[in-house]
Structure formats: structure tokens, C-alpha cells
């Protein structure tokens, strides 16, 4: 019986430990495959910029359905993928979205807009 008590105590303590260490703040953003997309981009993987952009557009639908916000850099990165395909209209569109959702990006987005036109 005492052994049971000890086990119970240990279990409860373990549970409280896990609860105490768990992150309390709920997620601000819906990430979907964004980190994997960045990795694919950096590795210059077999996925073409077009395929990467399509994946990100599909994820964007899921993010919107989730009710959570689009992560920082998401629209900018999608814009970069369009820019690399020569689609400067979509590049400008995504860069503008990034800027309106995150005013902190303004200086860099303006810099890109000035410099990405070739």
C-alpha cells in the first residue's frame, strides 16, 4: 500500500514537472510547412522555386483556415520565390503584404523593392 502511495506521489510530481516546464503561451502563428520550405530553399533542393511557391500557397489556405496569423517572413519568402521566377508583380504583391502585416519589416521591404528590379 505504501509502495502504491510512493508511486502515486512520484507520478503526480512527474506530471506537475512536465506541466511546469511546458510552454504556457499559446501559439501566435500557424507554421504548416514553412520551416521545411526554408530548409528546401537553402539546400537548393530538387524542388523548383515554382513547386516551393505552390506548396506555400497551399499552406497559406491552411493557415487562413486555422484562425492563427501568418508567420513573420512568410509573405516575403513567397515573394522571393516569385521573384526568382521573374514574376515581379507577385513579388511586389507579397512584399507589400509582409509590410502591411509587419510594419517592423518596412525598411528592408523598401530596400528590396528598390533593388530587386533588374
Amino acid at each position: 500500500m505504501f509502495t502504491k502511495l510512493i508511486r502515486l506521489t512520484a507520478l503526480l510530481a512527474l506530471a506537475s514537472t512536465l506541466a511546469a516546464c511546458a510552454t504556457k503561451t499559446p501559439a501566435l502563428y500557424s507554421w504548416q510547412g514553412y520551416q521545411a520550405n526554408l530548409d528546401a530553399y537553402f539546400r537548393a533542393s530538387s524542388l523548383s522555386p515554382d513547386a516551393q511557391a505552390q506548396l506555400m500557397e497551399q499552406d497559406l489556405q491552411k493557415i487562413r483556415a486555422s484562425g492563427l496569423a501568418v508567420p513573420p517572413g512568410y509573405h516575403a519568402h513567397l515573394g522571393l520565390l516569385y521573384g526568382e521566377q521573374g514574376d515581379l508583380d507577385k513579388f511586389a504583391q507579397q512584399v507589400a503584404l509582409e509590410k502591411s502585416k509587419f510594419p517592423e519589416s518596412q525598411t528592408f521591404m523598401d530596400f528590396l523593392t528598390r533593388n530587386f528590379k533588374k
Binding site: F2, T3, H77, L80
Partner: protein
């Protein structure tokens, strides 16, 4: 009587585990400069890689956005940042890290910059084991003043919490299996993600990053 002693020991053990479980990495970091600076945005420069594996830099780079954003900061789009440096002739992380803070602030408009160095990345073999370890160091710097706001180090390893049992024969077999697995799967990338999340964790009193202005926990830590 005897059982009560047992239960006391059990509770003591659990208490120790509790403290160890939430242990801080660098107790006593002075947060006064960090709190005064109130950075809203972070520019993450491509990490310097001191390991032999050339994939380390961009493996770590692909993992930094999520923890920093969820902590409440705006993170400059990492791939675009890398491209902007490239356009200006800087392809090596060590060159990027040499750029004066004022210049970084002028181009990117970020309040702060995060300088990361990868010190370990990959598999090391001993006779009876193989271990995948990733270790990262980070330094957050105010781009207006050049002041260091925070510093940290974190590691993730495949042998964490592993139990050594079953004698030498079993160890050798497990080492062979692990070597095969380590070369088949992209293990380093996985531990790179864990180490990066640990480095950039918030809510760890005395060692971690503070919450940023987009977090509901901002200025409560």
C-alpha cells in the same frame, strides 16, 4: 517507519528531478541592457559554422524563425536576408558577422541582430557508440548601440536519456545499428532543430531570451 523513510527519499528525488528538469543554462545573466533596449525585431545573420559539415549553417538558419517569432519578435525573412548579403558580395557568414551594426540597421531596419555560431554538428564515433551532437552559441546585439543584450549556448544530442545496458555485445550491435541509421537519416538536421529551439527558448528565468512585444507575456518576465 521504513516505508515513510522510503517515501521521503522518493519525494526528495522527485524534488531534485523537478529542479533539474527546469534547470537554467546560464544562471544570473544581467538583463538590464536587454530590458532597456526593448528590441521589437531581430535580424538573424547566417550562422558561422565551426563544424566540418557544410550543411550546418543553413540547417540552423531554417529553424530560427519559429522560436523567435513565437517569443514575440519580428524576424527579418531569413532567406531574403541571406540573398541580400549575397547581392552585396558577402557569401561567407564570417564576413556578414563583420558588418558594422550601423550598416545592418540602415539596410534591414532591425532593432537587434542575432549572431549564431555552430560549434558542433554531426556524428562522432567511439568503439561502442555513435553520437549525433549539435551545439549552438548565440549573441543578441542592439543595432543602435552595439551593446550585447543576451548570450546563450545550447546543445542537443542523440545519447540524451539513453540507457546503457546489456553488456558489450549488445552495445556493439546497437552502435552498428546506430551508425547505419545515422548515415541513412538526416539525424544532424533533427538535432539542429532541437538545439536551436533550446538556445532560443523563452521563459527560462536567468538564462533564456525575454518575450518580445508581440507576445502576450511581453514585459512580464
Amino acid at each position: 517507519m521504513k516505508y515513510q523513510t522510503f517515501s521521503k527519499i522518493a519525494i526528495a528525488f522527485v524534488a531534485v528531478f523537478l529542479i533539474a528538469g527546469c534547470a537554467t543554462k546560464q544562471p544570473g545573466w544581467d538583463y538590464s541592457a536587454y530590458k532597456a533596449s526593448k528590441p521589437r525585431s531581430i535580424l538573424v545573420l547566417s550562422p558561422i559554422n565551426n563544424s566540418p559539415d557544410i550543411t550546418a549553417t543553413y540547417s540552423v538558419m531554417s529553424f530560427v524563425t519559429k522560436p523567435l517569432s513565437e517569443a514575440g519578435y519580428y524576424v527579418m525573412p531569413v532567406a531574403m536576408v541571406a540573398e541580400a548579403f549575397k547581392e552585396n558580395g558577402l557569401t561567407q557568414p564570417s564576413d556578414m558577422h563583420q558588418t558594422p551594426p550601423a550598416k545592418l540597421r540602415e539596410i534591414f531596419g532591425a532593432d537587434s541582430a542575432l549572431y549564431i555560431t555552430v560549434t558542433k554538428f554531426g556524428v562522432s564515433y567511439t568503439v561502442v557508440n555513435s553520437e549525433t551532437t549539435v551545439q549552438v552559441q548565440g549573441k543578441l546585439v542592439d543595432l543602435k548601440t552595439g551593446t550585447t543584450l543576451w548570450q546563450g549556448v545550447a546543445q542537443a544530442s542523440s545519447v540524451e536519456g539513453e540507457q546503457q545496458q546489456g553488456g558489450l555485445g549488445a552495445l556493439l550491435v546497437s552502435a552498428i545499428i546506430k551508425q547505419v541509421l545515422a548515415s541513412t537519416f538526416d539525424n544532424s538536421h533533427k538535432y539542429s532543430g532541437i538545439a536551436t529551439e533550446r538556445l532560443l527558448a523563452t521563459g527560462e528565468k536567468g538564462s533564456g531570451l525575454l518575450f518580445g512585444p508581440r507576445s502576450p507575456s511581453y514585459s512580464k518576465d
